[in-house]
Amino acid sequence: AEEPVTVMGWGGPWKDAIMKALADPFSEKSGIPVRYVSPYDYSKLLAMDQAKQQQFDAVEVNGMDSTRMIRDNLGTPLDFSIIDKNNLSPEQLEYPNAIGACSVATVMIYSKKRWPGDDHPKTWADFWDQKKYPGGRSLQRTPVKTLEFALLADGVPKDKLYPLDLDRAFKKLEEIKPHIVTWFSTGSEPQQLIASGELEFTAIWSTRANDSILNQNQPFEIIWDGGASEGNAECWFVCRGCPNPTGAMKFLNFAASAEPQAAFARIIFAAPVNQKAYKLLDKKFAETMPSYPANEEKMFQIDFKYWVDNYEAVTQRFETWIQS
């Protein structure tokens, strides 16, 4: 039999989606079995690399970790004799040694039950306005995106965000701090809190927002304006020193193509980077995707280069601030 490809990524429903949309059809087609390993843990990938015991062949990492992988050169140069560039769209090849996998964003959602009319919150400035829009709100416990939201709320235009004006951002954050119900750290927390009525509006991952609205019928609506898009930064890599690079390339060739990307998006709402996939998606559904051009326009792109360089220092500052 063929040597299996080991893939590391997020678990739970994410894993189910990967298996159904990518791995199973791939195995069926190529005869190469896929072993999917979760949970996603970048530090583990790093530990394996340090120990020269890399066991993951292909990984799909988030924007921040993509940038780190590229910086630390943890990937293997892609073999375009196996990967057919023709099946890809240019957006997927933005980063070296990587192929764009999916596009996610962090957005604001609000309760339509609470603000049924047109007088609903529309911007981060509204989110900050506790007087006009009282109610439970939450943000993610990370400086990435949160500081950007604060600056947007303070009136900084979205193309002038970077390099971040940290003092200004923290000053603005100080205003909202007493009104934050919770600083969530897992994707499921805001979902639960919406369901149990604790939150009226919140920052949330677009995938989870769509799951709540479309699958759980929560009466919420996404505000794309001022959303934080990861753009094309969430990528597939083939790991340095992995046991089965050839298989991994074959897998990437399949996974990055349009049809699996569309299938994947349908299941887990993670938008395709491969624009060709939009042809396969229902229009109405496509409009809920962060990489849908109309939506992407309204959002800003997270500058992961900035973040990778400043992550530790800003996180320390953010943690000190948040804990006080």
């Binding site: 080991t6 997020w10 678990g11 739970g12 429903p13 994410w14 894993k15 072993r35 390993v37 979760s38 949970p39 996603y40 843990d41 530090s43 583990k44 530990a47 340090q50 120990a51 015991q53 066991q55 993951f56 897992t186 994707g187 499921s188 979902q191 639960q192 369901a195 149990s196 989870r208 799951d211 709540s212 699958n215 759980q216 019928n217 929560q218």
Partner: protein, 265 residues
């Protein structure tokens, strides 16, 4: 005894504490029947589909099996190392007893993330990563203190005259300890073993690192789900675990019926 205030107060506080302890179980079991993907209590309807999903998903079944395997070996190792240590610490004047104790107890707090990373790196040359045994060894570090402490507490009340009686009637001291001391303090050892198993079953980070590529114990399975999205499968899996524990207790109770009678009639 006739009804008395103190009995009522005690009874009421017992019921209150039990309600507090059991409340999460009620919520989780309730939520596991919710028909939609939301974790919701009280459930908006009744559906067994999350249970069906678990039954039909080999991942969950494997997770249960892995948890059992790791837990069993952990318990065994904890007993193997914990029982002699507990015995030595409670019976002998040992130099540096405080230090040994401190070392044992520190294993309970040692941040798991640090143990996870360091154990992973340490295991690489030993080839213990991705083995059930490797994880069980790592978990035994947290299980040993439980065995030692519970055994120590039991030995404290053990009447040493019993051991003397055994030795004088022909038992080699080691045999006296095995046939008299250990059976008498067995409840303490069993509680320690139970704790050792439980801490293994709930441990997360070391499991993620050491057992990463292939298998996944139940705690990791639950955690990875939660990090992305919560749906009632998690509640259903948790409920099954609790029900399994309950079933285990019932079986144990049935097995004990007719065996040794009550200790204090």
């Amino acid at each position: 005894m006739n009804a008395r205030i103190d009995v009522w107060v005690l009874g009421a506080s017992v019921v209150a504490v039990l309600l507090y302890l059991l409340f999460p179980i009620v919520v989780v079991i309730g939520a596991s029947f919710n028909p939609t993907t939301a974790l919701q209590f009280p459930p908006s309807g009744f559906s067994l589909k999350w249970y069906q999903e678990i039954a039909g998903n080999p991942d969950w079944i494997n997770a249960f099996i892995v948890t059992l395997e790791v837990g069993a070996i952990t318990t065994l190792l904890s007993l193997l190392f914990g029982v002699p240590a507990g015995f030595a610490l409670s019976r002998y004047r040992v130099k540096g007893k405080t230090l040994v104790t401190a070392l044992l107890l520190s294993a309970l707090v040692a941040p798991h993330i640090v143990r996870a990373v360091s154990t992973y790196l340490f295991y690489v040359p030993l080839g213990l990563n991705n083995t059930i045994l490797g994880l069980a060894i790592a978990h035994s570090i947290g299980g040993i203190p439980f065995v030692v402490i519970n055994l120590g507490a039991s030995l404290r009340s053990f009447d040493p005259t019993l051991e003397r009686a055994a030795v004088i009637h022909g038992a080699h001291p080691v045999r006296a300890v095995l046939t008299i001391t250990f059976p008498v303090v067995a409840p303490g050892i069993i509680v320690g073993a139970l704790f050792a198993f439980m801490q293994s079953a709930q441990e997360l980070l070391i499991s993620i690192f050491v057992l990463g590529t292939l298998q996944m114990p139940i705690a990791v399975k639950l955690w990875e789900g939660v990090r992305v999205a919560v749906d009632p499968t998690l509640a259903a899996a948790s409920s099954l675990l609790v029900l399994a524990a309950l079933g285990f207790f019932l079986l144990a109770a049935l097995a004990r019926r007719g065996a040794a009678p009550a200790p204090n009639a």
